[in-house]
């Protein structure tokens, strides 16, 4: 690789130990179906980058949230563009993870010794659903509010602990400022942190265990 990289690698020493992962043999007969996971990673990275940008203008407050979205759409340079990319990447992330899950399921790649990687992948899918759900509230418009009202009310149908769960999720009795800031925190800190750890372990296991031979 380039001279700058070699200089950095002179301090880090990552190239040599990673060679056998980066230049590993892959089984013959792989198709584009084996790129779905990589495509999901691409959308995850796009979401991460555009999310970093959006967080500079978004204000997670009951009185300011909606106005800050309007400002983002109308006044901020390319605000509409960055927000649209974030929105569409979120849709495509879910689609591609689902397609990837189907591919893994169809090619029976969840079997031992890859069973833990299947579990990690499913957890990633759950966290990406959670990201979608928490991100949906943030525009703080009618659709966002009522979707969250309905979504969090579902927790209340759990027998016995329903109301406790609702309070826990909403941070109060109903969907309010407490819910908004809670969802914002989960959306921009907890879930990306959790997903990054899960994705790292996902790829680590892929490297260690290799790609399963197609059926």
């Amino acid at each position: 690789m380039g001279r700058v990289f070699d200089w950095i690698d002179g301090k880090f020493h990552v190239k040599a130990p990673h060679k056998r992962f980066l230049q590993r043999r892959i089984p013959p007969g792989l198709s584009y179906m084996y790129c779905l996971g990589g495509a999901s990673l691409f959308f995850y990275l796009v979401l991460f980058a555009t999310g970093l940008l959006l967080s500079m203008y978004y204000i997670p407050s009951e009185t300011e949230a909606y106005d800050s979205i309007l400002r983002l759409q109308r006044e901020v340079n390319l605000g509409w563009f960055i927000r649209a990319i974030h929105k569409w990447s979120a849709t495509f992330l879910i689609l591609f993870i689902l397609a990837h899950t189907l591919r893994v399921f169809y090619s029976k790649a969840y079997r031992s010794p890859k069973e833990l990687n299947w579990v990690v992948g499913c957890l990633t899918l759950v966290l990406s659903f959670a990201s979608g759900f928490t991100g949906y509230l943030l525009p703080w418009d009618q659709k966002a509010y009522w979707a969250t009202e309905v979504g969090t009310s579902m927790a209340g149908t759990v027998p016995g602990v329903g109301q406790f769960l609702i309070n826990f999720v909403r941070g109060g009795f109903d969907v309010s400022q407490a819910t908004l800031i809670r969802f914002y925190s989960i959306h921009v800190l907890w879930l990306p942190a959790g997903m990054s750890i899960l994705l790292w372990s996902h790829f680590h296991m892929v490297k260690r265990q290799g790609i399963k031979k197609p059926l």
């Binding site: 009522w146 009202e149 309905v150 009310s153 579902m154 309070n167 826990f168 909403r170 941070g171 109060g172 009795f173 407490a178």
Partner: protein, 146 residues
């Protein structure tokens, strides 16, 4: 038991209990400190003459001076007059009254209630909540938990 195994066990126990304690502290921190127990407050909303004689009337009650409003339905049906909460008992959306179908219909999942608030279709588990209503010196008061 060898001393080494004993110490290993002790260290493990300390680590596990530390993890338990810190996660309970975190959960306690995340749980809302005061979930307000809502008291019923009676709001004056209209005069007795304005009560509907027959049918359903939607009313927006101003609940504070910041312009927050709460909607209620006042129903006059078979000589009775009562107030219904518009909150769907399924998942909390607001129902609207359809004059055409003579029923309350929830836009979210199609819950349907008759004019008395009883479920006649869709997923709601219970009838619409009846709100306390009082007529005093020609004025109508409706009780809301806000």
């Amino acid at each position: 038991m060898r001393r080494r195994d004993f110490l290993k066990g002790v260290v493990k126990a300390v680590l596990v209990s530390m993890a338990c304690i810190s996660s309970s502290v975190a959960a306690l921190f995340i749980y809302p400190a005061s979930v307000k127990q809502r008291e019923i407050t009676m709001y004056e909303c209209l005069s007795e003459e304005e009560l509907p004689r027959r049918g359903v009337r939607r009313l927006d009650i101003e609940i504070d001076n910041k312009g927050r409003r709460a909607a209620v339905f006042i129903v006059a049906h078979e000589d009775k007059c009562f107030a219904l909460s518009p909150v769907c008992t399924h998942l909390g959306c607001l129902v609207s009254f359809s004059r055409h179908g003579n029923a309350f219909i929830c836009p979210c999942h199609g819950g349907k209630y008759d004019v008395e608030g009883n479920v006649i279709g869709g997923p709601p588990p219970r009838a619409l909540t009846r709100l306390p209503m009082r007529v005093d010196k020609g004025k109508v008061y409706i009780g809301l938990k806000v």
